[in-house]
């Protein structure tokens, strides 16, 4: 071992002794000057390359005085540049959007794509890719696009929540511009909070998660919002059956500062208000959701750049009524939402060292308010739960030599959990109860990633040290991470990874949907942090010049995952002694993932298949034997594609499709009936049909083993058609038509028993929709 380390140090040392020049810089969109995340900067001579970070920055060491660089990014024309390197050089490389469709391959000498991660462990989608999937109700969604990836599936039909390699949706770290989003759902989970028009890029890590990320067991979804056009005023409005959206972006100062504002709002409530008003109804009820993304950035000088981002997303369900003759008015309001704000400062210390310093706040709340005004008697009752997260974060990237770079940083988070705080207010009193339910936690973390980049081998060896301090108790953990890619001949690569993860937050949820009542709770002395370890091994190959094929196996085991005890549930966030309601257990999942992907040409698409198993074990449940996790999907096949039709100049027409075929969900379904004693007050009070009354209140449906039922095969085919016409002055209009569930498959949502018969409930039949987009 020591010999191996000595050889490694010697190799690094000798490499650094060679005459080296540093090429650093940014890759950006040529039209908007927006920085591009995940672009490949490749030196064909040394066969070494790097990928731009989430700020579009790269740093590369060149071994010769002249250097030819090849820069690639999906959706952009590949660019080759030659530079003379007498001194360290800083570049701003602009890529032209679009690809030449008649050309077949554009991969050139760099077929491996991202240098650091296998495509099975890491997926990156840009805005164009996200919107190329068939829409549901006119809305495209980043998380639904990701559900086509192997190892990723939806919790329930049409849920924006996703499960990675058999893990729960709560085990995914969701970041928006670096700040965590604690509830990413709108409309009971049917849509994510991410407005596709405001997104630049989304990266999903499923395995070999680098040490810079931590806090969840299964995956990281790192979403970057658009920065705003540095050169021109640009805007887009869109209308779908459920919402309307408007985005504007413009330079504040040409090539120096810009802003982006994007707002999306549903309009069901507006229609309902009008209808109820026309009907002269004193009651008002409805539902609305909105998102607001705001972002600005300022290039202070060559070495400094500032970003300021804000996000607010909220859902409101209300029911208000009044009896004006009686001077009576009652308002019921239930709302939930996220707010995040982050300020980031990029600083280039020198050609070797790049830094990003961030300060952010993230807030999630759900609140129920009932207000009564009965002839002057005023009563207000409120129940609310929230989570506050204020954090400071630093990230540094140090390019030591052509073979070695170091990424390191820290995170300090102050969290406050406030579950089920209730208050009542009258004219005379104002009481807040269980205010002492609030608890605080501090998380402090340090990480380091050592990246070794040899000709055929890339290694990322690192770790994350974290301390969790909650109400006086302290937990330490060290989470080692390793990922390796070995590039062989014939465009073949082998990847392997190991990761250990620690999760200090638990999600209390009774549903697989992503309900607003889902509540994050911090670990405590009694309920320990969740931990997991995962290993993966994969092979990838470019079969032809533009088709990639990959296969990967993984094994993951986790400890201290929680589940509600038998008969316990969580319905409204007011469960006070949640520690009494949950039981810790173990999880394990393993599987094999395959994919084939065509990324260039007139037709692009992907086929994926996952064979997997995910199980859980809890004391006191199922006789302490392993049982299937509700998100276990033994078989998961999907295929999606997009075909660009030939169209006259100035027009663009695309056909898209998506097909999913999966094993059915596991589900806890009552499979027995038991005779129970009457509950107090219910004995001998019936008068209509005492037999029915007795039977109804003394016979209960129950189940012994959790997830005892597997639903039938789940499948649906979706189609989409998009037509864009370029108008004068750079304007364009797009019609998007889509059909969800083309052949009207009645996929089961749930089951129940009625009049002695088992009934299946399906809620998504064939759903055609259309949306309109206007850009200028």
């Amino acid at each position: 071992m020591n010999k191996w380390i000595a050889s490694l140090i010697l190799l690094l040392f000798t490499t650094s002794l060679q005459a080296q020049r540093h090429v650093t810089g940014y890759v950006q969109d040529a039209q908007s000057a927006e920085r591009l995340v995940g672009a490949n900067v490749f030196d064909p001579q040394s066969r070494k390359g790097v990928t731009t970070n989430s700020f579009g920055f790269f740093s590369l060491n060149a071994l010769t005085d002249s250097c030819r660089l090849q820069i690639q990014h999906i959706g952009y024309k590949t660019q080759n540049i030659c530079i003379k390197l007498n001194i360290d050089t800083m570049l701003v490389i602009s890529l032209q959007p679009g690809i030449s469709l008649d050309e077949v391959a554009v991969f050139g000498e760099n077929p491996q794509g991202n240098h650091e991660f296998s495509n099975l462990n890491h997926t990156q989608l840009n805005r164009n890719q996200i919107t190329s999937f068939p829409a549901f109700l006119g809305e495209t969604d980043v998380t639904k696009a990701l559900q086509y990836q192997p190892g990723v599936s939806a919790g329930r039909e049409n849920s924006a929540g996703f499960n990675v390699r058999g893990g729960g949706a709560d085990q995914n770290l969701i970041l928006l511009d670096g700040a965590p989003v604690y509830n990413m759902y709108h409309a009971m989970g049917f849509f994510s909070t991410f407005n596709s028009y405001a997104i630049k890029d989304a990266s999903l890590y499923k395995g070999g998660i680098p040490a810079r990320y931590g806090g969840r067991l299964s995956s990281v979804l790192d979403v970057t919002a658009r920065e705003g056009n540095m050169r021109d005023f640009e805007g887009v409005v869109s209308v779908s059956p459920i919402s309307a959206q408007a985005s504007i972006e413009a330079p504040i100062k040409q090539d120096t500062a810009s802003f982006l504002l994007s707002f999306r709002r549903s309009y069901l409530d507006l229609l309902l208000r009008s209808i109820l008003k026309l009907a002269n109804n004193e009651s008002q009820f409805g539902y609305l959701l909105y998102d607001l993304n705001a972002k600005t950035n300022w290039i202070v000088n060559d070495k400094n750049r500032l970003y300021l981002s804000f996000y607010s997303g909220r859902d409101t369900q209300y029911y208000n009524y009044a009896y004006k003759d009686d001077n009576f008015e009652a308002d019921n309001d239930f709302h939930w939402g996220n707010y995040t704000g982050i300020i980031r400062w990029n600083h280039i210390f020198n050609s070797k060292l790049f830094a990003n310093l961030s300060a952010y706040g993230s807030y999630f709340e759900n609140q129920t308010t009932t207000t009564i005004d009965d002839d002057g008697e005023f009563v207000k009752f409120q129940s609310r739960s929230n989570l506050k997260d204020f954090s400071l974060k630093s990230d540094f990237e140090y390019q030591h030599s052509a073979n070695y770079s170091l990424q390191f940083g820290s995170l300090v988070s102050a969290l406050q959990f406030a579950p089920g705080i209730t208050s009542s207010k009258t004219k005379d009193n104002n009481n807040t109860l269980n205010d002492n339910n609030k608890t605080n936690a501090i998380i402090a973390e340090l990480y380091a990633e050592n990246k070794f980049n040899f000709k055929t081998l890339f290694l990322n060896v690192g770790g994350r040290i974290s301390n969790y301090n909650h109400e006086g108790s302290s937990e330490w953990s060290f989470q080692p991470r390793l990922s390796a890619i070995l590039k062989l001949q014939n465009k073949l690569s082998i990847s392997a990874s190991y990761m250990q993860m620690e999760q200090y937050l638990h999600l209390l949820s009774s549903s697989s949907m992503g309900m607003p009542s889902d509540l994050w709770i911090g670990s405590s002395n009694r309920v320990k942090p969740e931990t997991s370890q995962q290993v993966s091994l994969g092979v990838e190959k470019n079969i032809w010049s533009n088709i990639k094929f990959g296969i990967e196996s993984y094994y993951k085991k986790s400890e201290n995952v929680i589940r509600f005890k038998q008969g316990m549930g969580f319905s409204d966030g007011s469960e006070i002694y949640w520690e009494d309601a949950v039981v810790p257990g173990k999880g394990r999942s393993y599987g094999l993932e395959l994919y084939a992907q065509k990324t260039t040409g007139r037709f692009t698409g992907m086929v994926s298949y996952t064979l997997s198993k995910s199980e859980q074990l809890f004391d006191g449940l199922n006789n302490a034997e392993w049982f299937p996790f509700k998100f276990d999907r033994t078989h998961d096949f999907s295929i999606n594609g997009k075909y660009q039709l030939r169209a006259p100049e100035g027009k663009m027409r695309n056909l898209s499709f998506g097909f999913v075929l999966q094993s059915g969900n596991y589900y806890s379904i009552p499979d027995i009936e038991q005779k129970n004693s009457q509950l107090p007050g219910m004995e001998n009070v019936g008068y209509f049909d005492s037999n029915w009354w007795d039977d109804y209140f003394s016979t209960d449906k129950n189940y012994v083993n959790p997830n005892n039922f597997q639903m039938p095969l789940f499948h649906h085919l979706d189609l989409g058609y998009e037509s864009t016409k370029q108008l004068k002055k750079g304007r364009s209009r797009t019609w998007n038509f889509s059909i969800y569930n083309v052949y009207n498959r009645q996929n089961p949502w749930t089951y129940y028993k009625r009049e002695g018969q088992f009934m299946q409930l399906s809620i998504f039949p064939i759903i055609p929709s259309a949306s309109y987009i206007f850009r200028w």
Binding site: S510, S511, M568, L679, G681, K701, R754, G756
Partner: protein, 276 residues
């Protein structure tokens, strides 16, 4: 297996096999079991089989004592469970205040209000329900209908009042109720944040001919009640697809059901006189 001990009643226990959910057969009772009850770990009595699946012991349990149940059935694993009888809650109310409907030329009694204080020196898991009485409900003008002149007692399936101690797990929005919501079947209130502290609230829907019950449940019966009501709610509102089936709580080893206890208090509003 179901048995809920109550210091005001002798012990009754029911025992039957579960049945498959797609079966329409009646429950098969178990009549040859050996059922033993222990009080603070001393044998307190052996229950005798009286009717199909029903066992009884003519003794009343005592508040504060711990009871253990052991059942042996031939060919089955031994069944066991335990419970501790909770304290009887003290329920105090202020004097009733009538609430009237006002019209242009008259007024009618709508209901009464009173402030409630529920106290105990320990943790309270209080469940409230109401029974109201109606006489001659069927049809008092037709003497041929059996029972036309009897009193009938109805279980009030929805209670509506404002209490910051109430657990909202079964609260439903409904504009029929003055407050715009009701609690399905029961209202659960606890002082578990500050055990020993009083629970105070105001009821504005008190009516004549009502009996207002409050019972303090032991930890197991409390969880069992909650899971049964959650399960009922899901069964009843089948059009709400977002709820997933709730597993019924059970504290019994090698069987399903409940071995719990509850202690009852009530306020009788049957014969109250209200100055209208």
């Amino acid at each position: 297996m179901n048995c809920v001990l109550n210091p005001d009643s002798s012990v009754r226990l029911s025992l039957s096999y579960t049945r498959s959910i797609d079966s329409n057969k009646t429950f098969e009772s178990i009549d040859d079991a050996e059922v033993m009850l222990f009080e603070n770990h001393e044998l307190w009595g052996i229950l005798s089989n009286t009717t199909a699946g029903c066992y009884e012991l003519n003794k009343k349990p005592s508040i504060g004592k711990n009871y253990q149940l052991k059942i042996n059935i031939a060919g089955e694993l031994p069944i066991s469970a335990e419970t501790t009888i909770p304290n009887r809650l003290r329920v105090d109310t202020t004097e009733l205040v009538p609430i009237f409907y006002h019209t242009e030329d008259n007024h009618f009694l709508k209901s009464c209000s009173a402030k409630y204080t529920i106290t105990d020196d320990q943790e309270i898991k209080c469940w409230n329900y109401e029974i109201y009485k109606e006489t001659h409900y069927v049809n008092d003008s037709d003497p041929d209908i059996p029972g036309h002149d009897q009193d009938y007692y109805f279980f009030e399936y929805g209670l509506s009042y404002l209490s910051p101690f109430a657990d909202n797990f079964n609260r439903q929005i409904d504009n029929i109720y003055d407050l715009g919501y009701y609690y399905h079947f029961y209202v659960r209130q606890t002082n578990e944040i500050q055990p020993g502290s009083a629970i105070t609230f105001t009821k504005t829907s008190i009516r004549k001919n009502t009996i207002d019950y409050y019972f303090n449940a032991d930890v197991h019966y409390d969880k069992y009640m909650k899971s049964r009501i959650q399960s009922w709610i899901i069964t009843e509102w089948q059009d709400l697809p977002f709820n997933e089936p709730v597993q019924m709580y059970s504290n019994i080893t090698n069987a399903m059901g409940i071995f719990g206890s509850a202690t009852f208090s009530f306020i009788n509003y049957i014969n109250i006189s209200i100055n209208e």
